[in-house]
């Protein structure tokens, strides 16, 4: 197997008794867009800073192309970071900010200028090259921060919550711009974010962390369709999670008696669920259909509409079953326009048993 570009091998970071990163191992290939995602305090930023050399691992090893990186000082590494606060040099012009890293590499002035010009052009900030950075808007500063890092033409770019300080409409634009830059440059992007929509929209692979440990690594689709544990299923959102008592049916599938009544799902591949055991079933909300009446096949739950929430082009319908159980379904706005729902209206929530999956016990 080819050497991966970056390897984190049982990397941990302790502050006194507190483990910011308990133990983390994963690899990153050249050209990947990796998102490190998790709630605040999960260790994602510390992990990023250890890759940049700004924090020292307490134990474990970080390798770049197979070479141990731990002892390299931050200024000896080729891992420019786009800071959450942007951290632009306040007393320098936009141009001088972009040239800063090139100057440290002792690039002659004319080349420095040319490169800076190129990157400012590319990121659409050439128009205010001579301005001070305190005269720029948040979106413009973000571009300066990107240009400053990319002007070094690094083999990886680190991003710490790059979109969190932007207005919502700018965030979406910047998101697609980052994806485009990543595709055009072909370099590795490692991006820390707490937003699963950002992570899932941009990254090839997502590393989900909680309390200093990795919860799941996978492609966005994979994580969405097969959460590895309850934390992931809850954190990525859009999932119905039912805990109940399992019964193994004659055909090998599992019936779960839980808060929404008895529903069916396939037995997990690794087995392990026996009759009478407690089990947790996950049903993605976008796999639940709403109908006026049942058809008698698949999972069908009679319920009443509690609230209807519109977010963008998605509609989330919160339901309460007759037994008092809760579930929610996500449908497209387009679909909902044809069959408007009123609060209190009775509906049947239905989904194919294949759409649900059990979490490992």
């Amino acid at each position: 197997m080819a050497t991966p570009m970056i390897e984190l091998d049982r990397v941990a970071k302790h502050y006194g008794n507190h483990a910011a990163v308990a133990e983390v191992s994963f690899t990153i290939d050249k050209g990947e867009f990796i998102a490190l995602m998790g709630p605040s305090g999960c260790g994602k930023t510390t992990t990023l800073r250890m890759i940049a050399g700004l924090d020292q691992p307490t134990s474990g090893e970080i390798r770049l192309w197979g070479r141990r990186l731990n002892e390299d000082a931050p200024w000896e590494r080729d891992a420019p970071l786009v800071w959450q606060s942007y951290a632009l040099f306040p007393f320098l012009s936009v141009r001088k900010n972009v040239e800063f890293g090139l100057k440290q590499r002792r690039l002659p002035a004319p080349e420095r200028r040319k490169k800076a010009e190129e990157w400012m052009e590319r990121l659409g900030i050439a128009g205010f090259a001579e301005r001070g950075v305190d005269q720029l808007s948040g979106g413009q500063r973000q571009r300066v921060a990107l240009a400053r890092a990319l002007a070094l033409e690094p083999e990886m770019l680190l991003l710490d919550e790059p979109l969190s300080a932007l207005d919502p409409h700018l965030r979406v634009r910047m998101q697609s711009e980052l994806v485009r830059l990543h595709r055009e440059l072909g370099i590795t992007f490692i991006c820390v974010t707490h937003s699963h929509s950002e992570a899932f929209a941009m990254a090839d692979r997502v590393v989900i962390m909680n309390e200093g440990r990795i919860q799941q690594i996978g492609a966005p689709r994979e994580i969405h369709r097969r959460a590895a544990n309850r934390f992931v299923a809850e954190f990525v959102g859009g999932n119905n999670i039912f805990t109940g008592t399992a019964r193994v049916e004659d055909d090998g599938s599992i019936a779960l008696a839980g808060p929404v009544g008895t529903v069916h799902a396939p037995s997990p591949l690794e087995g392990g669920i026996v009759t009478g055991a407690a089990a947790t079933l996950v049903v993605p909300a976008d796999r639940i259909e709403l109908a006026a009446a049942g058809t008698g096949c698949g999972n069908e739950v009679a319920a009443r509409v509690v609230t209807v929430e519109f977010v963008g082009s998605t509609v989330t319908v919160f339901l309460e079953t007759e037994g008092g159980g809760e579930l929610h379904a996500q449908r497209s706005l387009h679909e909902m326009e044809n069959t408007p729902l009123a609060v209190g209206q009775p509906v049947v929530a239905r989904w194919s048993p294949q759409q649900g999956f059990f979490l490992p016990a």
Binding site: A73, P74, W75, P80, W83, F89, Q104, L152
Partner: protein, 268 residues
């Protein structure tokens, strides 16, 4: 007249009076330094530069002025360097006993100068610095460094702690970061500290009086003259000293104003 206008008038009058009381002695010193008469009394005896001529002809005063300038010149450089270093350590590092460190660094101006003067005299007598310009410089550095530290600290408080790490991250070594990022950012504060510490040193009397010996600075010389006689020459010296000090302080103020103006814009 409306109440508001009256209040305004009273406020202006009050402000003018406060400034008048503060500056009247200084103004009278300057005015009488150009008076032809021997005694400072009204009416004015006519315009004259004779007292300025007299002090520039007096070798002891010249010597005192030169000493003062040397002491202030050296003091401001050393004090600003030390003050900058102390402020940077405070900005950059977290360590056990930091509050003690800061309290000690800020302490000297709170010690009564008489005590400081006596202490310096005793100490410098032992190490052989007493009676030398170096001895005065040491004393003035002790006294003025905390002012330099305070100015630089104020500036560094506005510097995002990520900035330094951002510079490292872009390939700048710690030294390159110091001279490429920290020092340029602090330049207004550093210049202000240079002017302010120079002003503190130039005006300082007590420490200089204790440790100067025969190497009198200008304020010490002035007191010596006063003890002998009251001469209008004192007025001329006062006017010059005032001119130098006010220039230094105003320069420091202008730099600080520019600094805080920029900080305010950044927040706005």
């Amino acid at each position: 007249m409306s109440m508001a206008a009256l209040r305004r008038l009273l406020l202006v009058a009050y402000t003018v009076l406060v400034f008048a009381f503060i500056f009247a002695p200084i103004v009278s010193t300057i005015v009488f330094s150009f008076n032809a008469d021997r005694f400072p009394s009204l009416p004015w005896g006519g315009f004259s530069l004779q007292w300025y001529e007299a002090i520039f002809a007096d070798a002891t005063i010249q010597r005192g002025l030169i000493n003062s300038l040397i002491v202030a010149g050296v003091t401001c450089v050393i004090a600003t360097f030390l003050g900058f270093s102390a402020a940077y350590i405070d900005y950059r590092y977290r360590f056990l006993g930091k509050s003690v460190y800061l309290a000690l660094a800020a302490l000297p101006p709170t010690v009564p100068v008489v005590i400081l003067g006596v202490a310096l005299l005793t100490f410098e007598g032992r190490v052989g610095l007493s009676g030398t310009l170096q001895g005065i410089i040491v004393g003035h550095v002790v006294l003025s460094t905390p002012f330099a530290m305070a100015l630089v600290r104020m500036r560094l408080a506005d510097l995002d702690p990520d900035i330094e790490r951002a510079a490292w991250n872009l390939g700048a070594s710690p030294w390159a970061t110091m001279f490429g990022v920290i020092v340029p950012f602090c330049t207004p504060a550093i210049l202000a500290a240079i002017f302010l510490t120079a002003a503190v040193s130039f005006d300082e009397f007590m420490i200089a009086w204790f440790v100067s010996g025969v190497n009198e600075t200008l304020p010490v010389r002035v007191l010596a003259m006063l003890q002998g006689q009251v001469s209008p020459r004192i007025n001329a010296i006062g006017a010059i000293v005032f001119g130098v000090s006010i220039t230094l302080v105003v320069l420091a103020q202008l730099l600080l104003g520019r600094m805080s103006g920029r900080a305010a814009r950044k927040k706005g």
